[in-house]
Symmetry: C2
Amino acid sequence: MNASATPSIAAWVEQIRAGNIRALSRAITAVENRTPGYSELLKALFPYSGRARVVGLTGAPGAGKSTLVDALAAQYRKREKTVGIVAIDPTSPYTGGAILGDRIRMSSHSGDAGTFIRSMATRGALGGLSSTTADVATVMDAAGRDLVLIETVGVGQDEVDIVRLADITLVILVPGMGDDVQSIKAGIMEIADIFVINKADREGAERVEREIKAMQSLAMRHDNWIPPVLKTVAATGAGVPELAAAIDEYENFLVTSELGRQRRIANWRNRLREMLRDEVLRRIVEGAFTEELVSQYAEQITGNERDPYSLIDEIVNRLVRQEGEC
Amino acid sequence: MNASATPSIAAWVEQIRAGNIRALSRAITAVENRTPGYSELLKALFPYSGRARVVGLTGAPGAGKSTLVDALAAQYRKREKTVGIVAIDPTSPYTGGAILGDRIRMSSHSGDAGTFIRSMATRGALGGLSSTTADVATVMDAAGRDLVLIETVGVGQDEVDIVRLADITLVILVPGMGDDVQSIKAGIMEIADIFVINKADREGAERVEREIKAMQSLAMRHDNWIPPVLKTVAATGAGVPELAAAIDEYENFLVTSELGRQRRIANWRNRLREMLRDEVLRRIVEGAFTEELVSQYAEQITGNERDPYSLIDEIVNRLVRQEGEC
């Protein structure tokens, strides 16, 4: 990014702020792909961020998250709130693209500039998915979206990291999942501010509710908030207004208890670490760790001619400045 | 690690190589926790690695992976092969521990030194799970385990990264999963060398098989290997000998086609990048990026007093040596 590009960044930011959807879309693409200049753009947008409410949704596969996100967006549109949606899609490690990227979604919102949806592919080893997702949320926030919904598929650490970046976390459960799901649920149970039992017209919804409440009776959260358990049938919209009301209530709790600010600080602590990691890696990979060199090293290691642990030590010693040096 | 510790590392390696289970267990703990000296230990063990066959198993939640891993281990024990198992458990982001870490597993193997199992927690933002898992596999390999089985729960990018580090990848499916699972399956379909339909006595096994074969008819792998589709009922052991035979067959294919070596080189390329990232981050976090400083920055950013993107630029400029500098 050279200095002469700065005026165009300023114009771009102005368009985004004015609600220009194409400018917003282009900004998200730049941030997602780490296009040169993206960092300048984020610097320019940052002062306008911090106003949106960021809601993360996660849950086991098959819980109907996408449908619920769509229903929730529609609910907020009725209140004249603008919505931005970031949907994280699983990526094929070989093609690198978003598998669900071409799916038809949000047909009910198409043509409504008040709901902006962006699918994002999960990245390979180099990318920091939660960092990129957070940056995209920042762009939507700075663009003036009132509500930013982040939807993750799956139950891995990546998803937990992403959802932690939200102000409010919804964990979506569904009746009748297998036993293994129980153990996976445990990993995300603790991050729920609100539980949603979707597809609640199915048999077993009461059992899931009982299980959640039994779990809640065992341990109180540090902030004394007891996550409510809501039931929805996203496909019909049943329970969605009540869910929006529950989100309002938690939002209110965050504001009155000052916990919202604490949570944002905690989120920034995590986010700064990841940003630092990504940026250091980017510089190093662009510099000393070229494809060609990596291939050469990998071949030597596979042939047991070189020990990878000593190699990494050498490279890091060469690249990272010692304390007080220079 | 100071130089005087080297003799004890040598003795430790000797114990590990002699089959001492406690020494192996201690080594894995050191590697998993990045205890000071772990890097020296890995350097000393590395020359003995490269002999084990590393098999990765992944699949949707509820597919019965743990049971299948146990059955497969038992099958290899019948052939007098020693087995090492690394089971990746989802971690609670708050407690940091392995949720399933205390589960009773492998009771059928208890007392058999020929099967060594280690549960590993997924880590927070700082850790490189696939790097750590690969290091643990290297330790088991250097300890002389013939077969190393890496089992992951879940379907996220982390799991894909882990499974890519294996020589052979098994994707476990199960009849009767929901629609969303289809889309998630897509993310791991391409990495399968062998498909396993577990719980194949359930209704729908044939349908899953047909789906896989339909998918295979659409695209051929670059290496022309057509991943076989095996059916098992891990709980009873049905189909497990056939699965072991299929693994043998693929192993043979890897050797005769030289693809095994190519794959290991590709794996090392990925692994080197992750090792570099982890090590750089460790140095930087231990040095300039203390908890106190991060908290201070996070507070300033939350209050919109500081822009995080400029901050990261500053820090990286200070820490990463420029090309040709010094």
